[in-house]
Structures are given as structure tokens and as C-alpha cells.
């Protein structure tokens, strides 16, 4: 084995080292004077010294800024430095390794067997052993995927041999207790479900094999079947037969929009774009993996959701990503962190890096998102990634395979990724393969996925396959099982290409390795398809054949290992019955005197984690790639104001656009999840309207992130939320086209169970006829009028104003969607007639925050009079008007010459001109008695807003 260490030439700056030193300082270790980072490449193979020098000189080290050293184990440490070397655990693959292999082959060196990478960190300063350990644990190593190198690293995996043995589970002989234990420990099925399976196999007359039982468990899992949402729920007197159908899906059915092309059946929801093209949209969660390994978890999260549009209809091109994250506050005290939980700052940085590295490499712009903070996300962050796809309308419908079509798996190879310790066949595993399987967390490989997308879209346009789906959670088991539901299938598992040897048939079937797609290919096209893929170095392999017997048949080297009835697999799951309770939370309205000067409160809200600028994150995402961005996430005179929604032009030669927006506010859920959900829908639609969109063609997605639905109070909240968003979406005429739920987001400690706040993300996608009509939120011109559109109520429950005063409150913002729709339609018409110079939706922090953001984004002063604001009820306090978070309100800038026309278009809508834009540098707000309640410079407001995440 040869070890190559590549480092920045001494004397030149090392940005990675400097960033590490800053992180060490942030950790509270102030004695680290300097840090440097080296890349280590461990090369195995019969390489000559000449070849080795060639590899270093022409591939691994940059001749201008880097130096290299070659040695067997050159573990020398410079004087005065501490060194920590970190390598990936066996089985965790760094994508760089594959590229190094290719690069070496390109140099004409053919004797390399294997490559492994590592990182070596050098730290200078007075650092104790304890400091080094702290730095290693908190910053350098995540033991789930990495370890500190102490001895000699093994470069290649030990080659393990798998000897076939058909494994059966003695299900038929199990009593209730045995079944319960099996369900709880291995399968996550309840007794009722397992008894159902037991009866089925009793009828068949044999025990199930391991893969049969696990295929059933996976297909019947919460993840695949949404058992809670499909369950029969008793809530007080009310019985809800199927929560999903009776709420979310009912909206879509009742609205019955002709432009909804495919809803709730494919990997994402599809709507018509311009008659020729269609758009699809999906948002997924990747919470648990991101908690354990933020970088890998988040990168495979975004990688996974990108495959959803790719696997929708006959395949679509991903055109935009959106990300919403929920973390605990980054300033959470280190000493209060529960054991085994990563610090929120580390999770945030890792998740951001994982999403950016994957999304940027895929060439998909990240155009929209949000980051929210609450201590209850400490052990259980919420990571939501979404992707919009574009396809010809003719490819919008799910394909249909024929008997005789071939099952083709394409893209990445299969390893033990995602297979956790659940195993019946443990006796089969050698000691060595146990070492391998210890690492089931994967790091995404975006280039594998990018290559796959490039050839898939060509194959789609050439009509080389009849159907496509992605391999995600559940791997082949889920993908093949679902695709073959109406036909039947035979798969020969030994044909699946593997990353390394030694996988059992069970592991091959269940593996969740990333970057794989599944295709149904007519035999006549298979040769062309495989050679097309090979021409761009993408692997595609025939692993089986679709049949017409409606059975799922699996073989390993011709040995039958599964034979399941599709009807039972897909429709055998008995409906679950659940109990729910709902009791309104008892929070009192706070009682405090109004501060005479609200400037400080405003700055506090602007500087709160939820509201503050996310520029540090946004700039690290490529939001311009593909060239479609028409309203960017950062807008205004200095390109740094917070845009409401993104507008993307998917076809560069067209004027049409798509608006992507989201609504989320878990704080309201602490009072009432019904109004939280209603508010989330209203917020998402408000953003669409704020940027100049309309309600004519807007589709919604729901993502519920909740606690344990087996606890009746959690379920009661979930029912309320589902009803809330359905009622409001229906009234607004906005159908849901797809959705997802992630339940069981709770973390058990010895003392108690920490449940995340009820978290519902509503994502909106709206079609816009002309992107040149889009409206940005930054104030544009001195002298313009400022209107508040929409009535303000005394609704500060869950508001940021109450939060900075340490209260929750009880009067949560409600939604009157009948009134709201009229308002939004009118404002949309005004924007269409170019009567709106700037528009900003009022949400967290109400009028105060919206005005401040609009003013500093535009670099213009503002004067507002709260006494003029339209009220929905009597409000006696200026602070309540300034910071109320009532829904369906906008702050709108109108040119004085358009006043008449604007008010004419808006006739019948509650609105009032409450101030003007000026050329000064201050935001000045006068209270209901005419007294000055806010007076602050744009600079200080902006500083307050930018400082918290100005990392």
C-alpha cells in the first residue's frame, strides 16, 4: 500500500484550515493558533515509483499551490503540532475514490487495485489531550461513518463470500406473544397485522421466507402505506374512516381541476404547464438519517427527492430544488446536550453542506426554502427537500409495462446501505461481513445520479422504456413490488450489480443504496438502452422479467426465495384503528404594558433565529444554474433582501414561469394545529400572490412531521391539522397533488419523551403567464404609497412579538378563506395590470417586520401610521397592530399616479394607504394616538437582521 499526503504548500493560505480554526474557536477552544488540512490517498496495487510520481504530479497535487509526500505510513507530525487523521469506516464509500480510480486509469496506469481516502488535520497551539478529543468528537469525526486512524488502514474491503441458504421464519408456530415480539423487534408490524400474515401463510401451507416477511413488512410500513393517514380514527364522537381521503384528497376530488394531470398515485404530483409541457413537484423528509449523520443524511435526502420527479410519469427533468429545515437554536448550550445527540450548529452546517454539495453538483438551482428553530428539534431535526420537474405533457402519465418486458436496474450499484441490524440470517454472516455491515449510512454520489438523469431523459425521448420508478426507501423490494402490482414479476437477485461481494439475497433485495432507478423495458429495446447508458458510463442491468401471474417471485441462482400473491401484498393490509383526543391547549394571553418605543422589539424579532437573514445558507446554494431564475431568493438594491417566493422560467425561450412558495409555522400549532395548518396554506398562497401570481393554477403539497400517532393527543392534533389545511385549500380552490408524512418524530430520554412541535409544511407551485409581471418585495421609489391590504385582528397567539416577551398566548391567527380568496384575486389582478411596484406578505413579525424588510431591501425610508391600518376588530394597542400575525395581509407599494386605478381594482377589499416610501434612511412608525413608536435607521434594522447567521 502507498500513502500519498497532499497539502497546501507551506507559506500559502489554507482556507480549509482557517475555517476549521474558526469552528474550533466557536466551540470555545481559544488556544488553537493555526490549523491545516491534508488529503490522504491510500493506493493499493503494484505501482512503480515512476507511476506513483506521475499520479501525484499530474493527478493528486496541484503544481502551483500544493505539495505531496509519498510513504508507506508517513505519519510524521511537524514539531509543535497535533495531528488527527480521519478515515471512513469500512463499507462507507467516498465518491472521490471512484474518480481517483478513473483518473489513474486515464494516466495509463492499469495496476491500481483499490483507493481509499482520508483527511489529516494538523493543529497548533496549547491544546490538551482533552481539547483534541473534544475537537475530534465535535468537529472532525462522526463515529457513525468515520474513525480516527491509529494504525494501518485497510484499503479494500475484505472479500467476503456469500453461501446461499434459503431462510424461513417459523411464523406459523408463533403464539401471540411471539408474534408481538417479532413485530416489535424486527418488523414494525403490530399483532393484528402479523396474525393476518400468519393466517395467509397458514392458507398457503408453509412458513414465509425471510424476504417474503420483510417485503410484507416494508410494503405495509408507515413509510409506504401511510397507515395512520389511512386508518379509522375515533376522535370523540367523530369517526374518520380514512383521514387522507376525507381531508387532503377530498379537496383534489371536489375541485376536480382539469389541469391536474396526475395526483396521489405517482412519485410526485403533476400539473399542466403550458399545454405542451407539464410540471411535477414532490417534497420528502429525511429527518432521522440527518440527525445521525447530517451531511450524508441530507445529501441522500436531496438525492432521493430528485429521483421522485425523475421517476414520475415517464420521467421529468429536475428544474428547481427547495429546502426547509427545522433545528434547535444554534446557540444551544453544549453542556446541556443529551448524550449521543449532535449539536444543532453541527447539524445545521452538515445538512446545509450535504444539500448544497449534492444539489449544486446536480446542476439544480435551490430557489426557495426556510429554516426554523425550536429547542424541541434538538434530537430530531426536520429536513425537508423538494424538487420540481419539467416534462413533455405526453410523458406525464405513469407508464404501463407488458408481460415479457424486462426489469432493468440502472445507475448506482447495490451495497449494504440502509440495511440496519434487522436480520434473520445473522448466523450466515462471517465476522468480516459484520464489520462491513456496521456501516449502513451512505454518502450520496451526485455524479452517479447526474449521469443517470442525462441518459434517462434521452432514453425517454427515444421511447426505450415503458415505465420508470425510483429505488428509494425499501429499495428494490418497494420499487419492483409496486411496479409489478398489476402484472407480476420474476427477479433473479444474483444479477443485481454489487458494490462488493458477500451480500445475501435478502440484503440485495432490501438494500437502500442510492442513485438507482428501475425501468420496464420491452425486449426489443433493451440492447439499445443498455448501450446508450454504457456510452455515458452508466450501468444498466436486466435483473428479471414482468409476468402476467400477479405474483412476486424472487430467485437466487435459480433457487426460489419468494413467491407472494400481489393482491395480498398490496391490498391485504387490514385497516388500522386509532384513538385520538383533542383538547385545546391552555395558554393565557400575556399581560404586559406596551413598551413606549417598539424599535427594540422590532430589532429583536428581526434578529430572532426564524426571521433573521439566511443569506449565509442561500449563497452557498447555486440558485442561478439552468438560467431560469426570474425572482431570486435574495432581492433588492443590494441583492440581499428576503424574497417571498421564487419565480423560475423553466423554458428559456418562453415567458411563462412557475412560482414556488411555502408556508410553515409550528408555533401556531402549540395553540391549535387546525389554525396552524390553515395559516400554512394561507402563507404559501400569500407568497404566490405577493410575487404577482394568481390562484388560477396553483397546486399544493402537504408534508406532515409529527410525533407518535399512537399517542391519542398527537393524533388528535394531526386530525385537526389535516382538516384545517383541507378546509382552507378547498375554499381557495387550490388542490393538493401529492404529499408525505413523517410520524414518530419523538426522542425518548430516561426522563421523558421530547416530541417535535407539530410541523406542517405546505408547498405551493403556481403557473405564471409572464415572468416579466413578477413583483419583488423591495421598496422601489420615494413618494410611493404604502397600502396594507387585508384586515388586522388582535391575533398575536404564537407570534414572534409574544415570543420575545416570553409568551405563547391564545389568540392564534385564523383564516377566512372566502374573504381571503376575493382579496387575493383582486391583488393578483392589480399586479397583472402592473399596478403593484412592490409587495410583501405579512407573516412572522407582522406589519413591523414586513415594513422593515421592504425598506432596507429597497434602501429607502418609510413612514407609517398605524391609526390608518384596516382593522377586523377593535384593537387598543399599537404594538398589537404592528406585530399581529393575522393571515391574508400584504404590504403593497403603489405609485401615486396609479392610486385611482389600484383602488378601483381593489374595490370591496379591506385596505388603506398607511404611509409612504421616502428617500430617507429611517423606518418611522406612528402609533394609534399619533405617537412615534418606531424610529430606527435602515442600517441598524438590517444589521439586527443579518447578524445572527452572518457566519
Amino acid at each position: 500500500m502507498f500513502r500519498v499526503e497532499v497539502s497546501v504548500k507551506s507559506g500559502l493560505p489554507d482556507p480549509r484550515g482557517e475555517a476549521l480554526q474558526k469552528d474550533i474557536r466557536d466551540l470555545g477552544v481559544t488556544t488553537a493558533e493555526r490549523a491545516r488540512v491534508s488529503d490522504i490517498y491510500l493506493l493499493e496495487g503494484d505501482l512503480s515509483q515512476k507511476e506513483l510520481a506521475l499520479i501525484c504530479r499530474e493527478l493528486l497535487a496541484d503544481p502551483v499551490v500544493e505539495q505531496y509526500s509519498i510513504g508507506e505510513t508517513s505519519l510524521s507530525v511537524p514539531t509543535g503540532a497535533h495531528a488527527v487523521e480521519v478515515a471512513y469506516n469500512p463499507g462507507v464509500m467516498d465518491p472521490v475514490e471512484e474518480s481517483v480510480g478513473k483518473g489513474i486509469l486515464d494516466l495509463g496506469v492499469t495496476t491500481l487495485k483499490s483507493v481509499k481516502t482520508a483527511k489529516r488535520y494538523y493543529l497548533w497551539g496549547r491544546l490538551s489531550a482533552g481539547d483534541i478529543e473534544l475537537i475530534s468528537n465535535k468537529l472532525l469525526v462522526n463515529s457513525v461513518i468515520q474513525h480516527v486512524v491509529t494504525g494501518r488502514e485497510r484499503v479494500s474491503l475484505p472479500s467476503a463470500e456469500y453461501r446461499f441458504s434459503r431462510e424461513e421464519v417459523a411464523l406459523l408456530s408463533l403464539d401471540d406473544e411471539g408474534l408481538t415480539r417479532l413485530g416489535r423487534e424486527k418488523l414494525e408490524l403490530n399483532l393484528k397485522e402479523l396474525k393476518h400474515i400468519q393466517r395467509h401463510f397458514a392458507g398457503v401451507g408453509r412458513n414465509p421466507t425471510d424476504v417474503e416477511l420483510e417485503t410484507l413488512a416494508q410494503t405495509w410500513s408507515e413509510h409506504c402505506k401511510h397507515k395512520t393517514f389511512n386508518s379509522r380514527i375515533r376522535l370523540g364522537e367523530e369517526v374518520i374512516d380514512n383521514l387522507l381521503r376525507s381531508t387532503i384528497m377530498r379537496v383534489t376530488e371536489e375541485l376536480d381541476k382539469p389541469w391536474c394531470l396526475s395526483t396521489f398515485k405517482d412519485n410526485s404530483g403533476v400539473i399542466d404547464f403550458d399545454g405542451r409541457y407539464a410540471l411535477c413537484f414532490k417534497v420528502e423528509t429525511h429527518n432521522h438519517p440527518s440527525a445521525i449523520e447530517p451531511y450524508g443524511g441530507a445529501s441522500t435526502g436531496i438525492g432521493g427527492v430528485i429521483r421522485d420527479p425523475l421517476g414520475t410519469g415517464l420521467g421529468s427533468k429536475p428544474i428547481a430544488n427547495t429546502d426547509v429545515f427545522c433545528f434547535a437554536p444554534p446557540d444551544f448550550p453544549h453542556d446541556k446536550l443529551p448524550a449521543g445527540v449532535l449539536h444543532p450548529r453541527r447539524i445545521l452546517k452538515g445538512v446545509r453542506a450535504g444539500v448544497a454539495d449534492y444539489g449544486n453538483r446536480m446542476g439544480i438551482p435551490t430557489v426557495n426554502g426556510a429554516i426554523l428553530f425550536d429547542e424541541r428539534y434538538l434530537a430530531n431535526p426536520v429536513v425537508l427537500c423538494g424538487t420540481v420537474g419539467l416534462m413533455p405533457k405526453s410523458a406525464a402519465q405513469m407508464g404501463k409495462q407488458k408481460a415479457g418486458d424486462l426489469v432493468v436496474v440502472a445507475g448506482g450499484r447495490t451495497g449494504r446501505d440502509g440495511i440496519h441490524g434487522v436480520t434473520f440470517a445473522s448466523a450466515l454472516l462471517s465476522g468480516e461481513s459484520e464489520e462491513v455491515s456496521a456501516s449502513s449510512v451512505q454518502i450520496g454520489n451526485p455524479i452517479t445520479e447526474k449521469k443517470l438523469i442525462d441518459v434517462l431523459l434521452v432514453a425517454r425521448d427515444r421511447g426505450l422504456y415503458r415505465r420508470i420508478t425510483d429505488c428509494g426507501g425499501g429499495g428494490l423490494s418497494s420499487a419492483v413490488g409496486e411496479m409489478a402490482e398489476e402484472t407480476g414479476v420474476r427477479v433473479d437477485l444474483e444479477k443485481v450489480p454489487l458494490k462488493y461481494s458477500g451480500l445475501s439475497y435478502r440484503e440485495i433485495w432490501l438494500s437502500e443504496s442510492q442513485e438507482r432507478m428501475l425501468l420496464a423495458v420491452p425486449p426489443a429495446s433493451v440492447e439499445e438502452l443498455i448501450s446508450l447508458f454504457a456510452s455515458e458510463d452508466v450501468e444498466a442491468t436486466v435483473i428479471g422479467e414482468f409476468t402476467d401471474d400477479k405474483r412476486l417471485k424472487l430467485f437466487y441462482q435459480d433457487n426460489p426465495v419468494a413467491d407472494l400473491d400481489m393482491e395480498f401484498l398490496h391490498h391485504g393490509l387490514p385497516q388500522m384503528e386509532r384513538e385520538a383526543v383533542w383538547q385545546p391547549a391552555e395558554h393565557l394571553e400575556p399581560d404586559f404594558a406596551q413598551p413606549p418605543d417598539l424599535s427594540q422589539d422590532l430589532k429583536k424579532i428581526l434578529g430572532s433565529w426564524n426571521v433573521c437573514s439566511k443569506e449565509w445558507v442561500i449563497r452557498q446554494y447555486d440558485h442561478e444554474v439552468q438560467g431560469g431564475s426570474a425572482l431570486k431568493p435574495l432581492v433588492g438594491i443590494n441583492n440581499d433582501g428576503p424574497g417571498d417566493a421564487a419565480v423560475v422560467r423553466p423554458l428559456l425561450d418562453s415567458d411563462m414561469g412557475v412560482i414556488i412558495a411555502n408556508g410553515i409555522n409550528p408555533r401556531y400549532g402549540d395553540i391549535d394545529p387546525y389554525w396552524m395548518a390553515a395559516s400554512a396554506v394561507d402563507e404559501a398562497l400569500r407568497q404566490v400572490i405577493a410575487v404577482g401570481g394568481s390562484l388560477k393554477k396553483v397546486a399544493l403539497l402537504d408534508n406532515f412531521n409529527w410525533g407518535n400517532p399512537e399517542k391519542p393527543d398527537r393524533l388528535g392534533g394531526l386530525v385537526r391539522a389535516a382538516q384545517g389545511c383541507a378546509d382552507v385549500a378547498l375554499a381557495y380552490g387550490a388542490p393538493f397533488i401529492s404529499g408525505k408524512d413523517s410520524l414518530y418524530n419523538e426522542y425518548e430520554t430516561e426522563k421523558k419523551s421530547i416530541c417535535i412541535p407539530p410541523t406542517l409544511l405546505i408547498s405551493a407551485m403556481a403557473v405564471m403567464d409572464d415572468v416579466a409581471k413578477a413583483v419583488s418585495m423591495d421598496a422601489k421609489k420615494a413618494g410611493d404609497l404604502l397600502y396594507i391590504v387585508g384586515a388586522t385582528y388582535n391575533e398575536l397567539g404564537g407570534s414572534h412579538y409574544y415570543a420575545v416577551h416570553g409568551a405563547i398566548g391564545s389568540r392564534v391567527p385564523r383564516v377566512d378563506a372566502q374573504r381571503g380568496k376575493k382579496l387575493m384575486d383582486a391583488l393578483s389582478a392589480a399586479a397583472e395590470q402592473s399596478l403593484v411596484r412592490a409587495g410583501h406578505d405579512l407573516s412572522e413579525g407582522g406589519i413591523g417586520v414586513a415594513a422593515a424588510e421592504m425598506a432596507f431591501a429597497g434602501g429607502l425610508g418609510m413612514t407609517l401610521e398605524l391609526a390608518k391600518a384596516p382593522l377586523g376588530e377593535a384593537i387598543s394597542r399599537s404594538d398589537s397592530i404592528l406585530f399581529s400575525e393575522s393571515n391574508t395581509r400584504f404590504l403593497v407599494e403603489v405609485a401615486p399616479e396609479d392610486k385611482g386605478r389600484f383602488e378601483e381594482v381593489m374595490k370591496g377589499i379591506e385596505l388603506a394607504a398607511i404611509g409612504r416610501v421616502n428617500s430617507g434612511d429611517k423606518l418611522e412608525v406612528y402609533g394609534i394616538k399619533g405617537e412615534k413608536v418606531v424610529s430606527a435607521t435602515l442600517a441598524e434594522l438590517k444589521e439586527a437582521w443579518q447578524r445572527p447567521l452572518g457566519w
Binding site: 446542476g363 447526474k450 449521469k451 449563497r619 433588492g636 415572468v771 429597497g858
Partner: protein, 255 residues
């Protein structure tokens, strides 16, 4: 009018190929995309085209260092073809990742010992940065792509864009573009110079002016509504980037 044939090179991880094709088409070129494997297999020949473009992206994941693996592939497998293409009067444009590739492949700054004396290192901020920058065009530059242009406003999006050069190389560079502030000051620091580039260098060309490489993305500013402040400024017919492509196409047409 004579066809101006443009070849946009694709490789695993290329991701700005479509918008670059759109830009060249708007400028009047006939555009084809080709995967590097197609060129290596001689399914397509570079000599059939007049403009060769290495667009932005993360070729081979930018593993090891940005553009390194594709650069070696071009140098080792297509070196002769590219050399003949350049000698035959062809134009080469490298954008972002294409800049990194053209430098590391020795195409932009050929040298006997294989060390171009210049590289694109990690940004000073140690971060990928997506932001719009003002660029000042060096009037002395022989670059045919920037003829008649004095300044440009374009986005950058990269993690490795810092020009670092050996002193002797730096002295003889044909600098085309420098990061500047709104007033054209080319000594402006971060964030106007988004990566810490020596001498604020954002783009360079070879001595002939026919090989041009830049970190900013002219193909992302072709239509006015791609400008970050289009909604608050006076509309213009085209984005700044179009002139870069137009110059190339016109030069080919008239030579």
C-alpha cells in the same frame, strides 16, 4: 449566412450545457452537444466545428480538484485534436468549470513541463459562493469575445475560483476580466472579489485572444429578467452576457 458550428462539451457532472447552448443559439450559432466519450471514440470530431465550449458544472464531481479529471482526459486523449483545432483558427471558451479545465489541461497556458504556473484554488471564504459581480474588461486584451465591451454584470457560482499564479506567470497573463465594484475599481475586496483572486482576475485569454476562460457565467444573463434587480431598473433588451457569445459568432462569420 454561413453556419457557425459550435460544439458544447459534456462530461459526467457538466450542468450548464443547456443554457450555454441557448446563449449560443440566441447569438446565431448552430449548436451541438457532445459527450467527451463521443469525442474520444471519434463519433464526433472537434475539427467539424468552429467554436469549442467547455461549460460549467462539476465534472467528475470536481473530485481531487475542480476540473482536474476532465483536464487530464482532454490532455491525454484529445490533446492532438485540440492542438490542431487551435492551430486551425478555432475559438475555445471555458466557463467556470471550463476555466478550471482549460488551465489544468494546459490548453490556455501551454507549458513544456506541464505546469501552467496558474491555478484556480479554493475561495478565500472556504465556501461555494453564488452572487452577482461587476466585471471590468481590460482594454489591452486581445480577447475577441469581449470586443467592444467595457464592463459586465454577471453571476459567479463556484467554490474554487481563486486565481493563484506564480509571479512570473502572473506578469505575462492576458487578463481579460477583473472583479470590480460598481464604480469600476478593480482593487475592490470581498465580496466584490468573491474568491480572493490575485489582481482581481476573473477571466484570461491566450495571446491570440481566441481562447478565453472566465469564472463568471455570461450564459446566465441573456434575457433581461435574469438580472437580480430587473424589477427595479430600466428594462434593457438583452442581458450583458449575450454580447460575449455574439462576438464569438460574428468573429467566426467574418474570418
Amino acid at each position: 449566412m454561413a453556419e457557425v458550428r459550435t460544439l458544447i462539451l459534456r462530461a459526467p457532472g457538466t450542468n450548464c450545457d443547456q443554457e450555454t447552448a441557448f446563449a449560443f443559439e440566441r447569438a446565431g450559432a448552430v449548436v451541438e452537444l457532445a459527450h467527451v466519450n463521443q469525442l474520444v471514440r471519434r463519433d464526433k470530431l472537434i475539427s467539424d466545428y468552429q467554436i469549442l465550449v467547455v461549460p460549467g458544472g462539476f465534472t467528475y464531481g470536481d473530485d481531487i480538484s475542480a476540473g482536474r479529471i476532465l483536464a487530464n482526459e482532454l490532455r491525454l486523449k484529445l490533446g492532438e485534436d485540440i492542438k490542431r483545432f487551435v492551430e486551425g483558427g478555432g475559438l475555445i471558451l471555458g466557463i467556470c468549470n471550463g476555466f478550471q479545465v482549460l488551465v489544468k489541461a494546459g490548453i490556455l497556458l501551454p507549458s513544456a513541463d506541464g505546469n501552467p504556473g496558474l491555478t484556480l484554488a479554493g475561495n478565500d471564504s472556504n465556501r461555494f459562493e453564488c452572487r452577482w459581480v461587476n466585471l471590468s474588461v481590460d482594454r489591452q486584451s486581445p480577447c475577441i469575445f469581449t470586443k467592444g465591451i467595457s464592463s459586465l454584470y454577471l453571476p459567479v457560482a463556484h467554490g474554487e475560483g481563486k486565481v493563484m499564479a506564480e509571479a512570473e506567470t502572473l506578469g505575462r497573463l492576458n487578463v481579460v476580466l477583473r472583479y470590480a465594484d460598481e464604480k469600476g475599481n478593480t482593487r475592490a475586496g470581498y465580496p466584490q472579489n468573491p474568491n480572493g483572486s490575485a489582481d482581481n482576475i476573473a477571466g484570461i485569454c491566450d495571446a491570440s485572444g481566441r481562447i478565453f476562460a472566465l469564472m463568471p457565467h455570461p450564459e446566465r444573463f441573456i434575457r433581461w429578467t435574469q438580472h437580480p434587480r430587473w424589477s427595479r431598473e430600466k428594462p434593457r433588451e438583452h442581458g450583458d452576457g449575450l454580447a460575449v457569445f455574439f462576438n464569438a459568432v460574428e468573429w467566426v462569420r467574418h474570418s
